[in-house]
Symmetry: C2
Subunit: 600 residues, 2 copies
């Protein structure tokens, strides 16, 4: 079996052919860098991922964290990997040089993370969460708090968590009950229970910084009453040394389907005197801060899904190329040698489907990262604003499409291997189990469907949606002039028409009756996601077509032919049901809405 | 959480309203029985499943079998459950009274098995395999062999396995290499390695009877050279007492994704003097014997998938009815109480989808069982022949539809519970893992697609296919006269037209070029499966509509309304993409066929 992580050729296609990542070097923020720095960063990520993360991926799964009532035990390789990641500077890769960061573009950080996700998503989750928590501290904490907590989070002495969910509330953050009361010294005392907190306890770092959503005493009900607090596991003295243990207790470990080397915890805040917490930013703005960070977290989750799908794909491909079995349908001679299973068209169908999902999802995540980048560092104010509007619109699909379809890609990986895919002697079933978390955390499809149809489409007067249509139309115009892509563009144009019709129609339905109008929002989200990824596949096909026209040969020509064929697969087969879905949505199908509890 | 197994009301609907199981009592074979015997059998199955199987389902998963080099250890509850199953007579439920059996109809045995599958599919697998092996002995072994081995297999002293697969061959049975040479005393010496043999070793029974496919020395290559041998773990003396240990060794245990309490083994036959084996039936007919039994095994696998999907459904339903979270889109007051998640239309959509897959699959399996029954015990020769032809045609869908869609139903169960679905503290993720085996064993979708399009459609001059069309048209005529069902029938009629067109078209493509014409056979299989299950949903809707018209009230009316709504869901949403699939198939889409290894 392969020990590859992702595919360097694919990543370079995505970064430098599909996107123009080199153009970022023109921006003042990246003027000190050059292409070689980007490539060296990716090479470092790949090397550390291969050396320190991949070798214990299976071991961490088979030996999940344990808690003896006092201490959590993780396999020791986890700490070695954490240190290697931190020492190479990846915790601070996108931070300012002034803060000790590498000041690298978002898309380079993401592409680096793809290697770590591919190698061992459960171990790198501690880093992923710390990066997210540090982003919150950096963006919203006051100067004193930031100086005390950010440096050790960037150099790896402290790790971080996002402590949102509670046992009684799940996706409805407005109902959270964890409380905060002023202690009189500028700090607060936090009390309550949080659940499903990844990385909520462990011994990897000196300290753990929990970013906790809680409700100030007397704050209004609902989302407007939620504030953000920084609650460390150990208090930190003004000189940076560690103080007393804070009143944050591990109430229990949860035992997951996959992603096992990441602790999933129930945390009790303030069982005794109350946990010391510090208000981050302004009271009542906790949820808005969290949402500003959530776009990054959601791209990150989607990228994790894409990376795991890619691993499933390359392992299945490797197996299909090596495993002899059976003969082609036309062969009648039982003495003829067996063929490798990749020679069966149905196996190629499965591999094409995996490729289409994994590479389409990867393209979507890196495109979203580039929008995030542009929203922050594009030279023109208009470009920054438009990138932000487009990203806001697309985030529901950016999160949901890879989370849904990359799990399917991992499932197909099991199927390609058959019985071998089903046993733990091969890595496919673990990729599946790890990947299955992704449609759950950072918002289920149901949540994102409501967000898209109930909010995002009409945000800023529909500006993001109009920008999306413009982008797709641009690619369609290019495709019309390209021999390889004209037919693909024609199909995508039809799907785009259906999307536009159904969008207009559904917005009318929502205005007339929100409950009924939103009842099929998840199906609409799926349809939109496929059109979006269809557009990315058309763009990949256009790049490939130009490269072939320019005379690519040998393995390069093969690579581009593969891109064209996967684009054909996607546009033929994955867009085929857009018409039917659009028809049912447009007709306001009431089947789910009308179903009653008592009828089940 | 619920501790229910399946749903008695549903099973009674399937057996006595959708099917006319009572009519079997008219047949001479069942004349001694009455409806009360059928019901008591089901009640016994439910009771034993609940008392002896369900309680250790999670424990068996968490403590999989171990092998210390000498002995296999299973959790002790496994043996208690095996004994309870055997003592109640389920190993012999369908066998003749003269052989010590209960002489019950196939469909009653299957419905009983559904309870055991729902309770603990990994533990009941030992029984399932023994039933299959005993069927082979009963049908094809000579008198002496049958007398020596069948009684202890029916009373539970011996268990059985099906030893087909080898490491180098997988689905292509024609390439198996295990050899058999005559020993001169009428027995044979078997040598070779078998892999993925479920129940291949354990200490549950005094002896294990392996039904082994092997190749006689000098036999022709390919499938015609394969014979069937009975190879016991311990030799059995003519008086029935156990003799020496046979030369069958456990080479290793495999570690599965789910189904963990079933040992999955690598077995070595004849490492030393050669394993003693006895030819079953005639030389060279091994595969044809196996295929005659495979229809039963395939219905059994599909029923396992359906049972697990049903458990996923009822657990998700129970959770959705109890778990409060969030508010409906129109609600603006953050102080309003949370609603139970079943009040969200999207959760009802997921539950409807689960219900549609689980109940549709259950209906398909029990319908296939009734065809199996008719093929053997229908009074008229024509009816027996037609039932056999229809079953032969439909077996690829009977195996594949439940295996594919019931795994999706189990996946949806995880999603309904969200974070709780992902952790092992709830049973949903185990149902998923257990269910994931079903699309792999007893033939993958790829294998069944080729079987359907390359062989079954034209078998007996297309007789089975014509019978299927007649059956569906019969239901369509009924639907046209029914207020609730006319619109559903209209949609199904369109799907049937598409199926007919594409079938004719594809048969032409296959005749012109088998490799190309069969390249999308799996997609065709999926399309056919959805039309088939759509027909069963229409029939369920017709029964429900008649019951409502006849004045059903209260919970009975609710039950029938649920059937109608699930039929609407299935026919609206699951048949929606038939047109698009048929168009691509009809056009002979070449995407997968044309893809090349080097392009990946």
């Amino acid at each position: 079996m392969t020990d590859s992580l992702l595919n360097e050729r694919e990543l370079s296609f995505q970064l430098y052919e599909l996107q123009d990542t080199e153009a970022l070097l023109q921006r003042p923020r990246y003027a000190e860098h050059d292409r070689a720095v980007f490539d060296a960063t990716l090479e470092t990520a790949r090397g550390i991922a291969a050396e320190y993360f991949a070798p214990h991926n299976q071991k961490g799964d088979a030996n999940e964290p344990t808690f003896d009532g006092r201490t959590i035990s993780l396999i020791p390789e986890t700490k070695v990997a954490w240190d290697a990641f931190a020492e190479a500077g990846f915790l601070a890769a996108h931070h300012d040089a002034a803060d000790g960061g590498l000041q690298l573009p978002e898309v380079i950080l993401r592409a680096s993370m793809a290697y770590f996700n591919a190698a061992n998503i459960a171990t790198v989750a501690y880093s992923f969460l710390t990066i997210g928590a540090a982003n919150l501290v950096k963006s919203f904490a006051g100067e004193e708090l930031r100086q005390r907590f950010l440096p050790p989070m960037l150099d790896g002495r402290f790790s971080g968590t996002m402590a949102l969910t509670e046992p009684g509330q799940g996706s409805a953050l407005g109902d959270l009950r964890t409380s905060a009361r002023p202690a009189g010294d500028g700090s607060y005392r936090i009390s309550g229970q949080k659940m499903f907190i990844s990385g909520g306890d462990h011994e990897l770092t000196e300290n753990i910084v929990h970013m906790v959503l809680a409700r100030l005493d007397g704050a209004p009900a609902g989302t407007r009453g939620i504030s953000l607090f920084l609650v460390p596991k150990f208090l930190v003295n003004p000189d940076g040394s560690l103080g007393a243990r804070n009143d944050v207790a591990l109430a229990g470990l949860l035992h997951k389907h996959g992603y096992r080397n990441t602790t999933s915890t129930v945390l009790s805040f303030g069982e005794h005197e109350g946990a010391v917490g510090y208000l981050v930013g302004e009271a009542g703005k906790g949820l808005s801060y969290m949402f500003q960070m959530m776009n990054e977290a959601r791209i990150g989750v989607a990228l994790g899904a894409s990376s795991l799908a890619y691993q499933s794909f390359i392992h299945a491909l490797d197996y299909a190329r090596e495993r002899p079995q059976g003969r082609l349908p036309g062969a009648k001679d039982p003495l003829a040698p067996q063929v490798r299973i990749i020679e069966h068209a149905d196996v190629r169908r499965m591999l094409l489907q995996q490729k289409a999902y994994a590479e389409g999802s990867l393209a979507l995540c890196l495109y979203a990262s580039s929008l995030f980048e542009d929203a922050h560092t594009a030279p023109e104010e208009t470009a920054r604003r438009e990138a932000g509007e487009l990203l806001d619109l697309l985030i529901p699909m950016v999160k949901s499409y890879p989370s849904k379809y990359c799990v399917i890609a991992s499932d197909i990986g099991i199927q390609v291997l058959g019985g071998s895919g089903y046993i733990r002697e091969y890595p496919l079933e673990q990729y599946y189990r790890d990947n299955r978390l992704n449609p759950i955390h950072e918002g289920t499809e149901g949540i994102h469907g409501l967000d898209l149809l109930g909010r995002k489409l009409q945000q800023n007067g529909g500006a993001g949606y109009r920008l999306f249509l413009q982008q797709v139309r641009g690619a369609l115009r290019e495709a019309a002039r390209d021999d390889h892509c004209a037919a693909l563009g024609y199909v995508l144009a039809g799907a785009l028409d259906r999307l536009q019709e159904v969008t207009e129609n559904l917005l009318g339905q929502v205005a007339a009756d929100p409950n009924l109008g939103l009842s099929n929002a998840t199906v609409y989200l799926d349809l939109f996601g496929r059109v979006l990824v269809g557009w990315l596949w058309l763009r990949m096909a256009l790049v490939a077509s130009r490269a072939l026209a320019a005379g690519a040969t040998g393995s390069e020509a093969d690579f581009y032919q593969g891109k064209l064929q996967a684009a054909r697969y996607f546009i033929d087969w994955e867009l085929a049901s857009v018409d039917a879905q659009a028809r049912l949505l447009g007709a306001g199908n009431r089947t789910s809405f009308d179903m009653r509890d008592s009828w089940f």
